[in-house]
Symmetry: C2
Subunit: 149 residues, 2 copies
Amino acid sequence: MLSKKAKYALKALEYIAKQSDINPILISEISAAHNIPKKFLEAILLELKRAGILKSKKGKFGGYNLQQSADEVNLGFIIRLIDGPISLIACVSDKYYERCAECENEATCGLRNVVNEVRDATTNILTNVTLADVIKREQRLKKSKGNKK
Amino acid sequence: MLSKKAKYALKALEYIAKQSDINPILISEISAAHNIPKKFLEAILLELKRAGILKSKKGKFGGYNLQQSADEVNLGFIIRLIDGPISLIACVSDKYYERCAECENEATCGLRNVVNEVRDATTNILTNVTLADVIKREQRLKKSKGNKK
DNA sequence: AATTATTCTACTAATTCGATAGACATTATA
DNA sequence: TATAATGTCTATCGAATTAGTAGAATAATT
């Protein structure tokens, strides 16, 4: 499961991406809109800024905006940044690889083979879906819901 | 990521499944074979027994065997049993469903839509791969490794 | 009875997660 | 230049989870 931190990060980024680029978005606004503890969100946005995803403006009328465009930021990047490995076992992770202590031969491990397949399936989705896509999906879902009624 | 407990459980089950059904397998044997802390493994095997996956025999020449056949036990079941939800967010989980506090409309949430896709991809693999499959994969990997040399 | 195993209860140490407090720095504008 | 509004930073904290341990009880075999 994702940590709350990662979920908050994704929700906040989606919220910022949806707004116009002109006005910086307030932490307190995002916090109120999604019931995210403000102080916790502060730390998260700061981390996203340090990673180059957000930019900030201090002082009055300050706040946050995307630094990259919404179709350049994929979900996999965010999740890895906040939560670490996406894979179920570290022995199949690209960025967080670690050997299994209890495994004799990695190359022939059947479990590793399965877990590797899961990782491929997961990262294929997560690294190909961007913030812009998430917003598009939301709009599509809202439309198709309207049609059904 | 899987917990160590879940990884140990999977490794131990694979080990038991590989042996003949006749002789019960000792905890200490599995523990030694895979570098799994013995006392910790004890608790894990007990849990697997309670879930109906293993059966045990006490006393001399006691130990553990599978209760179900190796092609009936799928990895998803084990992982859910030990670690809980496979999904990245509980709002798309079958067995561990929970509403997101920060989400207004679940049906139109774009993030949920993506996470649901990930869940489908993951569980499709994990619930279709059995212990028997893991062993087969291992054998296949060992063969293809031999051929290359 | 002795031996060898699982079973069960109860801890515990370390780490991670989620969250908070409060001082500080920066910016806009009145 | 004062002030209000905002992000930045450091430090901390409680609760939950994870990983692992100790030791007595129970059961089966010889």
